[in-house]
Amino acid sequence: MILGAAELPRLLPAGYAAGPVGLAGHLARYGPLPCPRSGRLDGRALIAEAGRAGLTGRGGAGFPTARKLAAVAAGRAPVLVANGTEGEPASAKDKVLMARSPQLVLDGAVLAAEAIGACRAVVVVHPHVRGILDGAAAERARARLDRVPVDVRTAAGGFVAGQASAVVRWIERGVPAPTATPPRLSERGPRRPSAVVQNVETLAHLALIARYGASWFRSVGTPAEPGSMLVTVLGAVRAPGVLEIAAGTPLGRVLDLAGGASAPLQALLLGGYFGDWVDAAQALGRPFSAAGLADLGAGPGAGLIAALPAGACGLRETARVVRYLAGESAGQCGPCRFGLPAIASEVERLVEGRGADPGLLSRWLGQVDGRGGCAHPSGAVRLVRSALRTFGAEVSSHAAGRCRGAAVVLPVPPGGTR
């Protein structure tokens, strides 16, 4: 074994490097891609190994990877889509992974493609790292490394562009908006090849499981949630950025790894902009895992941890994010297109003490939740509900015109991308 069992980081290169790890450095660190004597990868064995490893999707939904790969419908050869869009503005883990370890991502894409019998692997990447992925793919092509062709494409901008069906529609039709399910992406009928979408981090883990096996993968993390994961830590910490941690690491420890809090913290936003606000004092001792956060009503999501200092206002930050999410709606579904702006306006009124109606807000949250062509409206509702739960005591002070502060913590792109 070239990479130590409980050694971190796994996906990211140890220490700081000026640029991406090249093919030679990549193979030196991890060893060669598994190359069976028959010349063809045993796809079923790899999928079974991923199942034993307990690998789950790192794009936010946490769906068991082996089950997803095994569920490809019979018919025309499928397409493997590696999703490196990362439309979530606060999250940087996929960009950093692609920028620092592009070869590992491509390994995973090719292995997954072979495992499902795909004719090609399409790697959709954030524009900032397109050049790096092109270079990495070219290196592999020169070395004739892959049995499956790799196609690198630039992702569309915008928050919903990272949604699985939106990515597929983007590469097929140039429209980065979600499509209806059914048909499920893995069963789209005789006219279109089925598409299997995997987050780039998930594929990077798969590339290491293929080399070192399930037990190695499980040597960090918890029995229920094994392996390592990438997290983006931002806000009131001294060294914000992307870290690789074992699943289940206590949140306080994660913040310490990011240089520790730079101010007393009142709350954390966990998961992403579809995630949850939690009280800092309650959360710091908890493991960063689905099981550890479940009773707080939160989860690891897309691996985001944002630290809200005492001098900032959670309701104000939520209002900014919800207004952004409303603007990022694909506009295809009524409840999202009309409901989210209405909810955003009401949250803004709440923050500005302009006579918001909590009954109306609650009504709209109930009407918008779960109704749409994708999870966008539900995610926004979840965020607002967690804000009302965590910062509920401050609602009345806002009505009286008092606010903790206007410090900006969460990045919200200006103007919108539509």
Binding site: F63, T181, R184, C336
Partner: protein, 74 residues
């Protein structure tokens, strides 16, 4: 169809015309923006024929009767 049957709305196709809520008020109401809120419960057998008729008359073909429980792609 045997087994529990549910009404489902394809919100991407739905244009909020509201015919479904008029036709089947027992199971469908409209939200504050005119879009259908469909009960998550199974369609009772006595309303099955009405439900099929409601599915037919949606001008955007956005309504479906479904038997299986769907899981979503992430």
């Amino acid at each position: 169809m045997t087994g529990p049957v549910r009404l489902r709305v394809d919100f991407i196709a739905c244009a909020g015309r509201g015919l479904c809520a008029e036709a089947l008020p027992e199971l469908i109401t409209l939200d504050d923006w005119g879009f259908p809120i469909v009960t998550g419960r199974a369609v009772p057998p006595r309303l099955l024929a009405d439900a099929r008729e409601t599915v037919r008359l949606c001008p955007k073909l956005a309504l479906r009767l479904d038997r299986r429980h769907q899981t979503s792609d992430s």
